[in-house]
């Protein structure tokens, strides 16, 4: 599965676009880190699957952003990638092996997931919290090894929270907390990192800081990243690929300048907007919400 295939679930209105996509299929790409095929994912409490799509790919060494409106199934897809949810049909292959087949600690050495919700007991220091990221690498009676300490230092450094090392997590701001949690996932030292809305609820400064950490990690450490983002503009700016989900189905996927179109914004996000492509990437100027 080294070529991009386009989903067949796309609405029939843009046939012309589909033809362009055929060409994209032939574009050679590097190997895929994570591949999902023929998926139907749901929760035990729901009858119908929440997400159904034929093909989801996170290309190795690239940043892929999952975008879509609320309830489109982004988080569900991400949870399923990390084996927190077992798909009703299909499976995700991590380096060719089904994620369900991994022993839980083995998977956690390959794949790190930062959930949307996490709680931390108040009087933990940042360093202690980051140390927990080494959990999958330690046996029941193991102490921290030199390698563990190095990974912890590197994670704290990468996330830029060195100055907070001895601070208790209860005394951190929302943005600092998010960076510290990212440091914890980084300490896990995985080749694939999944993040569920890491920038939501943060001020602009911290949003950019989080995105920069992700970018650095991707470029310097060659970590493959899958990230759910609420802000499509941000996704277009930072991601190499976008996966656009609409109502549990794959709407489109590819590089930002191909995926981010006025049709996408109208069909998926139900927003009337102008998209201009410049050197930085697609720029979105939203005008108004489209009435049902």
């Amino acid at each position: 599965m080294t070529t991009r295939q386009h989903s067949e679930t796309r609405s029939s209105t843009d046939e012309q676009d589909s033809e362009n996509d055929e060409q994209r299929t032939s574009t050679e790409l590097g190997p895929s880190k994570l591949v999902g095929e023929n998926l139907a994912i749901g929760y035990p409490t729901t009858d119908e699957p929440v997400v159904e799509c034929n093909n989801v790919v996170l290309p190795e060494g690239e940043v892929t952003a999952l975008v879509g409106p609320n309830g489109s199934g982004k988080s569900t897809l991400l949870k399923s990638m990390a084996s927190h949810l077992t798909p009703e049909r299909g499976q995700f292959l991590l380096d060719g092996k089904s994620v369900q087949e991994f022993e839980s600690k083995e998977l956690a050495k390959e794949l790190g997931l930062l959930s949307q919700e996490h709680d931390s007991p108040g009087s933990l220091t940042v360093e202690t919290l980051v140390t927990h990221g080494r959990y999958p690498h330690r046996g029941f009676f193991d102490t921290l090894s030199e390698k563990d300490y190095d990974a912890i230092d590197r994670a704290i450094d990468l996330a830029g929270v060195e100055h907070l090392r001895e601070t208790e997590t209860a005394n951190l701001s929302g943005g600092q907390k998010q960076l510290v949690w990212i440091a914890m996932v980084l300490a896990q030292d995985t080749d694939l990192l999944l993040l569920d809305e890491p920038t939501t609820f943060l001020d602009l400064h911290h949003q950019l800081q989080v995105m920069n950490v992700i970018q650095t990690l991707n470029r310097e450490e060659d970590v493959t990243v899958g990230v759910v983002l609420h802000d499509i503009g941000q996704a277009a700016r930072f991601a190499d690929n976008l996966i656009a989900l609409n109502d549990g189905e794959l709407y489109d996927w590819g590089p930002p300048n191909e995926v981010v179109t006025e049709e996408l914004l109208a069909d998926v996000f139900r927003v009337d907007a102008t998209v201009t492509n410049d050197s930085v990437g697609p720029q979105i100027t939203p005008h108004c919400a489209i009435e049902e």
Binding site: P44, H118, T128
Partner: protein, 396 residues
């Protein structure tokens, strides 16, 4: 500023201590431990000195540090393995054979209950959890009543093929073990009820309440069938928790299990820490949550059952000690567990002073009350104090 922090970091990296136990050298933890040890020493001294036969401090000193006992292998053999007791002075005999073992039992029971409570609070993520939240006390209580009331005069005799003698089983002489097993069985029932594609803290607590309610009703019902006041008093002593009459035999009974439970609890404290980061995070970090939760609960039940076997169902220690410790040393579970190992005994030994000598001091009567009554009397007001002081209690 940045310069300063980087200097601090290198200094720290340089002096990084590879010792497994370096975190024990925490000022708050050491203070807590020291304070608890002093409290245990004072309360223990009171227990040893006073009673029906009171001694002077000098006599107590001479009796405890009697070289004929301390350096006598036969004496230790007798204490720890139950062999014949060698000759010793009257004071030493009273101290070493009667009063000191009771203090020791109190220390061990205090450790067990405190650690058990701390683990259950992490597993259920609820500050109001106690060692008995998952049905352990109700199962043990029911078995105690059944043994005392229904099976009191009954002897089970099993004739085995190929063996010339038969195995005689008299439930009443195995009361401690029967009680502990009843507690563990109730815990398993609770787990079975709570299980549905895995468990959750809320399901576990609810199942515990359900099983507790049913078993407690049956237990109360059995009181009606008790034919004399002695049986009722004995049942009450067991179900409220009492250290009256405990000696070296109880120490021997409880020590090995407690040792295992405490080692596992300290080793498992890191699992508690990760569990407290939330289920999603723990799973992302590769924890097999259901396995860890069951294993930790098992350790906590082992500790609780061991203490039930020698002291009955002592309430409140397991509930308030982890609370106090968390307030004293912070929420890192390694420190909470170790702190509980000190504060638990301090509270238990102190409460037992009240149970053994309290009525004598107040009424002048030679009467002992179950220690569970005293722990309840201390625990209630302490909780009231916490409730007034803290705004949000409940979830950890």
């Amino acid at each position: 500023m940045s310069n300063e922090s980087s200097v601090g970091a290198t200094a720290e990296t340089g002096s990084r201590d590879k010792n497994r136990f370096v975190w024990l050298l925490d000022r708050r933890l050491l203070t807590t431990a020291l304070g608890s040890v002093i409290l245990v020493a004072i309360a223990g001294l009171l227990q040893v000195r006073y009673g029906a036969y009171s001694m002077t401090l000098g006599e107590v000193w001479a009796g405890i540090f009697n070289p004929n006992v301390i350096f006598n292998l036969d004496a230790w053999n007798s204490f720890l393995f139950g062999s014949e007791l060698p000759e010793m002075s009257r004071d030493s005999l009273i101290i070493w054979e009667l009063r000191l073992p009771r203090v020791l039992v109190a220390i061990i029971v205090g450790m067990n209950l405190a650690v058990s409570g701390a683990i259950f609070q992490a597993v259920t993520r609820n500050e109001l959890a106690s060692p008995f939240i998952l049905g352990v006390s109700s199962g043990a209580g029911l078995m105690i009543l059944l043994t005392l009331v229904v099976f009191s005069g009954i002897t089970f005799a099993f004739g085995l093929p190929f063996l010339p003698y038969e195995i005689v089983f008299r439930p009443s002489s195995w009361l401690p073990l029967v009680a502990a097993l009843g507690g563990a069985a109730a815990f398993l029932v609770v787990y079975l009820i709570a299980w549905k594609n895995g468990t959750s803290p809320v399901r576990l607590v609810l199942a515990g309440v359900i099983v507790g309610t049913v078993f407690n009703s049956m237990q109360t019902g059995l009181f009606f069938f008790a034919d004399n006041i002695g049986v009722v008093q004995s049942a009450i002593a067991w179900t409220t928790g009492s250290l009256t009459g405990t000696g070296w035999e109880e120490v021997r009974l409880v020590l090995p299990w407690s040792f295992i439970a405490i080692i596992l609890a300290v080793a498992g404290s890191r699992q508690c820490n990760v569990l407290l980061l939330g289920e999603e995070t723990a799973r992302s970090l590769g924890m097999s949550i259901e396995k860890v939760r069951f294993a930790l609960s098992g350790v906590a039940v082992l500790a609780a059952s061991a203490s039930i076997a020698v002291a009955g169902i002592v309430s409140f220690i397991g509930l308030i000690v982890p609370h106090m410790v968390r307030n004293l040393v912070g929420s890192d579970y390694k420190k909470v567990i170790v702190g509980s190992l000190f504060v638990g005994p301090a509270l238990m030994v102190t409460a037992d002073v009240g149970a053994r000598l309290g009525m004598g001091a107040i009424l002048g009567a030679d009467l002992q009350i179950p220690v569970g009554i005293v722990t309840g009397l201390i625990g209630g007001p302490y909780f009231l104090y916490l409730m007034r002081k803290q705004n949000n209690m409940g979830q950890i």
